[in-house]
């Protein structure tokens, strides 16, 4: 009898042992409750977002002193998989962070339209379009994301160039690059296209210097003419930069994030197409390049008649889950997360270009001042308008273009077919 009782006893002990642990912790409410809101994001765990989250929590606590807010920082690479499971189960967080564009538009069925709650914030915040579908807004924008062309002002000075006057045309730009390479030995572009992302940034950063304003607007509106010689010119330019040895070595085996930006900030390349928020921006380069050494230039004009502009869209924003018990309460939390105080802290600590256009950025240095000034005339990024399938294909054909195994005509033909297939 004694022996027979051994295994059940072990089993019970193991389960009790496991159960003991859970009893000691605070249980979250996956679906939220009147007294608690659960937020999923991938930002709140980052040290540079700490002050932003604290300010937002404080603002919300003033308005709703009895409500607890729990931030659950998820790893970004698993984020949308987990969110998809939560959405299909109908059990998940109350407030959810999204990337603007396709990521949120594909999931609006799980979200509440926020228009009635955020009317007062319309003028103060920019970037709403990235969180809007069929005329309804599903998230409050936190940051703006775009693709400025950054340059190293010190290298310009060393090459005898005026860092206040970057090239306005493509021939000038190539000549400047040649001068920098000759005097300093550095390459013109830090390029990482291992994941095929380099071409996306290139298309958006240089597109406005190639397409006419009408072509640009038509592209964004979905009326894309892939047979246009100007569209082909962008992809030919991509190939030319490689053939002219303007790019850093081995772009097809260099990762964009971390690696290509590391080349730029450690002065191994004079230019990089970067980002405005998160990574690869003026503050992110700060360990090697102080803010006054980072310049921002508009796309050089390649085709006469083009009007260069800053490509940008809404970056990240918080939305409210359809299943939340108190939508107004959750929407109030979104408003706290997009309040001026909170976004000012985010800009100051993380260097993000916040969606709040009233924030004073004058302390950020020349790069951030130029970016913010260019927002007024900026336009949505060309690559953001494309489907993820076409972007994947673009990544592959861009690598083939760099390696010389495909022609520009063939690349554009494949991309047109993918884009038209939807």
């Amino acid at each position: 009898m004694k022996q027979r009782a051994v295994w059940p006893a072990i089993l019970v002990a193991a389960l009790v042992l496991g159960g003991c642990g859970s009893a000691s912790g605070t249980r979250s409410s996956p679906g939220g409750s009147d007294a608690k809101l659960v937020v999923w994001d991938w930002k709140s765990g980052e040290p540079t977002a700490a002050q932003y989250i604290e300010k937002a929590k404080a603002d919300f606590a003033r308005k709703h002193p009895g409500v607890t807010v729990e931030f659950v920082a998820q790893p970004h690479d698993q984020y949308y998989t987990l969110l998809g499971t939560a959405i299909q189960s109908g059990k998940g967080p109350d407030v959810i962070l999204f990337n603007g564009g396709g990521q949120i538009r594909d999931r609006v069925d799980a979200l509440l339209p926020l228009d009635e709650y955020v009317a007062e914030d319309r003028q103060r915040l920019a970037g709403w379009d990235a969180f809007t579908k069929d005329g309804k807004t599903y998230a409050g924008p936190v940051t703006l994301q775009g693709h400025p062309i950054y340059y190293n002002r010190s290298l310009y000075e060393k090459a005898g160039l005026d860092p206040a006057k970057p090239a306005a045309t493509w021939p000038e730009f190539v000549a400047n690059c040649a001068a920098i390479t000759k005097r300093t030995g550095t390459k013109c572009f830090a390029l990482g296209n291992k994941e095929g992302i380099g071409i996306q940034f290139f298309l958006s950063a240089f597109g406005s210097g190639v397409l006419t304003p009408q072509e640009y607007d038509a592209w964004i509106a979905g009326k894309r003419d892939w047979t246009s010689p100007h569209v082909k010119r962008i992809f030919a330019l991509w190939k030319e930069t490689q053939d002219a040895k303007l790019n850093s070595d081995g772009p097809n085996s260099t990762a964009m994030f971390n690696d290509a930006f590391a080349l730029f900030q450690s002065a191994k390349a004079s230019h990089v197409i970067g980002l405005m928020s998160d990574i690869g921006h003026w503050k992110d380069f700060g360990e090697f390049l102080t803010a006054d050494k980072v310049g921002v230039m508009r796309a050089p004009v390649v085709v006469p008649g083009a009007t260069p502009s800053l490509p940008f869209d809404g970056g990240i924003g918080y939305g409210v889950a359809r299943w939340t018990r108190d939508p107004k309460l959750a929407a109030d939390l979104v408003r706290s997360l997009t309040s001026t105080d909170a976004l000012t802290a985010f800009h100051t600590q993380a260097g993000a270009i916040a969606a709040d256009t009233t924030i004073d950025v004058s302390q950020g240095g020349p790069a951030v001042t130029t970016i913010v000034a260019d927002l007024a005339s900026g336009k949505p990024a060309l690559h953001v308008a494309l489907s993820s399938r076409t972007l994947d294909l673009m990544g592959r054909v861009s690598q083939q273009l760099l390696s010389g195994s495909i022609t520009v005509d063939e690349a554009v033909r494949q991309l047109a077919a993918s884009d038209q297939a939807g």
Binding site: Q3, R4, W7, I10, L11, A14, L15, L17, G18, G19, C20, G21, S22, G25, T26, R27, S28, P30, V38, W42, K43, G45, E46, P47, E70, V72, A73, Q74, P75, H76, D77, Q78, T81, L82, T85, A86, Q88, S89, K91, F257, N258, A262, Q265, S266, L275, D278, I279, G280, D284, E287, F288
Partner: protein, 276 residues
């Protein structure tokens, strides 16, 4: 008298050494990066670290509460492996040695379960766990691990027990043992090498899991060590030396276990290979 090494051994030793180097290099690279400053890493990631700096390890340990995560991992993995070995060995014994209707179909069912990716069952699992009140609880995570890795355990234990002659079981029954007595007195001791191998593999599966733990343990304080390490990465970026330190912290328990049990592990793998 000098011992002569046969040339054939050298021929074998060279590729095996290269293989060993290729296996060890990622760990050495990670340890080296963990000792670097971010600046040092950006300037040259392949150079040797200037000095042994433990600041990154301390940052990784403190910034996301690794001590708590380590305890969570040790507790859940231990409980899961105990249950997996218990149920796996019982099922393996039954499917290999006991004659009953449907045993082949049951074994095939276990085999089929091996081919179902976890992503396919994520939604129903999440629903069932949530409805049972097991989301964000340690028993919930342990049960999920047992459910996920039991087919593999059963498959290996069944294969191993099939190599044991049926006459041994018959003799034990004639001697008056019950089925449970045969399992406890004969099959468990005979299955020890396989149990050790399977236990190590199960422990590694559970230890390295990120997705199940992320799905079922949403609270920050209930996370496991590997989830904690993953959370050191941002969307695009990471402080790579700190992230490498987190990876190192997660690898150390596995390495320590290997150092202490390497003889048994080698014996277990060898036993499995000759009898399986």
């Amino acid at each position: 008298m000098t011992s002569r090494v046969r040339p054939g051994r050298w021929l074998l030793a060279v590729p095996m050494s290269l293989l060993a180097l290729a296996t060890i290099y990622p760990l050495v690279f990670t340890a080296n990066v963990a000792m670097k400053t971010r600046r040092e890493y950006i300037l040259d990631r392949f150079s040797l670290a200037d000095a042994l700096r433990w600041e990154n390890v301390a940052t990784a340990w403190n910034s996301v509460g690794m001590a708590r995560y380590l305890a969570n991992s040790v507790g859940t993995v231990t409980a899961a492996v105990v249950l997996l070995l218990l149920f796996g060995s019982m099922a393996g014994f039954a499917l290999s040695q006991l004659r009953f209707r449907g045993s082949s179909a049951l074994f095939l069912g276990c085999l089929a379960a091996l081919f179902v990716p976890f992503q396919v069952i994520m939604v129903p699992l999440n629903r069932i766990m949530a409805d049972a009140g097991l989301v964000d609880t340690y028993p919930g995570l342990v049960l999920a691990y047992v459910a996920q890795f039991l087919p593999f355990t059963i498959f290996l234990m069944t294969s191993y027990y099939r190599t044991i002659p049926t006459e041994i079981v018959d003799a034990a029954r004639i001697d008056g043992n019950s089925v449970y007595g045969v399992y406890r007195r004969i099959m468990l001791p005979l299955g020890a090498p396989a149990l050790l191998s399977v236990g190590i593999l199960d422990a590694l599966f559970c230890w390295n899991d990120v997705l199940i733990a992320l799905l079922l343990m949403p609270s920050t304080e209930h996370r496991t060590l590997m989830v904690g390490v993953t959370s050191l990465r941002g969307q695009y970026s990471a402080d790579i030396p700190t992230f490498a330190s987190g990876v190192l912290i997660a690898a150390i328990p596995v390495l320590v276990i290997y150092l202490f049990l390497q003889r048994q592990i080698a014996d277990g793998v060898a036993a499995g290979s000759t009898k399986g």
